[in-house]
Amino acid sequence: MAPDDRKRRFELLALPHLDAAYNLARWLAGNGADAEDVVQDAYLRAFRYFDAWQGGNFRVWLLTIVRNSFMTWAKENRTPRMVFRSESPADDGGEIADIVWGHQPRDPESLLLESIDSQTLTRLMERLPAEYREVLLLREVEDLSYKEIATVVSVPIGTVMSRLARARLALRRLWLSNESREAAHGV
């Protein structure tokens, strides 16, 4: 393949996913400038290793590289956002039976779940551990399936399920305590 063709083919495949790539990088890095660096680096790497792409879902392949680029970037820059803890056995049990959604009593407060604004929600997300924030983001914003998330994050699918379950419960707890605090302060 002529170099120009290769570049054109890559751009045709990769540029439509630029928003998805940037969104992930923006969430991981926490600010726009660093996100741009990460994305640019990821695209260079993706282009370089384009021949390694085996024809699967290109967006998932690209997001995997974006995440790896972020990890490398975070390591090099020693950023405090490099907060992915090594996988704890508890998190990796793969069993979701012990972290069941819906064992909490259904109280009137839960109705307030509907009335949350974007800013508050983002603030609560930032308070979650990075690996929780990441799976929630990949599921709800990037709209990936469990299997796709497993690929991007490089963990077994059982871990995705249990981590997602834990993440949702953790966010729900933050959410409800936030609501009750605001209610107490009459906001």
């Binding site: 790497r45 085996q54 929600l121």
Partner: protein, 255 residues
């Protein structure tokens, strides 16, 4: 279906990850169980709120053009699986810039598996883990040359007790051990090295399987040795030369 069996399936239902049969079984339960139905509604409310309110950050308008400008017009494609050499300086793992080849190899291999192109998913899974362990800075959970620390640590967390022989006199010092996954199974990964080459020795339970002798394989620039003994499957993988990996494997197997 009972409530306690339905509850763990609610997130899967909400996420569209349930098979048709199970979806049908769960919906039948939900139709006559207001408690479970309310829990599902709760979850869906939360998901809707997240999907509506979590910001999706769009790329700045000029980013595409800037990326187009920095993409080189010519760039030699990089062979996958090479260039992922790990620099071992004492106990510090220094990652050269080229390690990203390893990272990408991990990505590429994952896709090999997902596409079903690999004839042997297990081998690919081992390769994946090996590459990932080096790229993710997750070579070990316990970093010690003392095998009397590594073995009990792994045994306590696994249904196999992997052999952790002292092979330093033979030129294979122990680096440590970690928990890993091979194709969905929990596996022990005992890490040795030879000079600057890392060897991952994987062991996982393979009950009710016959013993099998050494099988050697080369894939993606790595050498692998697999064997089975006493209901445990072993796989040693490294970018070491094949004969050295064979020597290593024989020492481990006590052959």
């Amino acid at each position: 279906m009972a409530c306690d069996r339905v509850r763990p399936l609610l997130p899967l239902l909400a996420d569209g990850e349930l098979s048709l049969t199970r979806r049908w079984m769960v919906s039948r339960h939900l139709a006559r169980c207001p408690d479970c139905a309310a829990q599902l509604e709760d979850l869906q409310t939360m998901r809707t709120a997240m999907r509506t309110n979590l910001p999706f950050h769009q790329a700045p308008p000029d980013l595409a053009a800037r990326i187009g400008n920095v993409l080189p017009r010519e760039m030699p494609p990089v062979p996958i699986g090479r260039g992922s050499r790990l620099t071992l300086a004492g106990r510090t793992f220094a990652f050269a810039g080229s390690t990203f080849a390893g990272a990408l190899a991990g990505v590429a291999l994952t896709f090999l598996v997902m596409n079903g192109r690999a004839d042997d998913a297990m081998t690919q899974a081992v390769l994946n883990s090996h590459v990932r362990s080096m790229m993710a800075d997750h070579l070990t959970d316990v970093l010690t040359e003392d095998r009397h620390t590594v073995k009990p640590w792994l045994s306590a967390r696994l249904d196999v007790s992997p052999p952790v022989p002292d092979l330093a006199p033979e030129g294979f010092p122990l680096v440590g051990g970690r928990l890993d996954y091979i194709d969905g199974h929990r596996a022990a990964a005992v890490v040795y090295r030879r000079d600057k080459h890392v060897i991952n020795l994987f062991a996982w339970a393979a009950p009710n399987t016959a013993d099998a002798g050494f099988r050697q394989e080369a894939r993606q620039g790595f050498n692998l040795m697999t064997w089975r003994h006493d209901g445990v499957a072993y796989c040693a993988i490294s970018d070491l030369e094949a004969d050295q990996l064979q020597t290593f494997s024989r020492l481990v197997a006590g052959d």
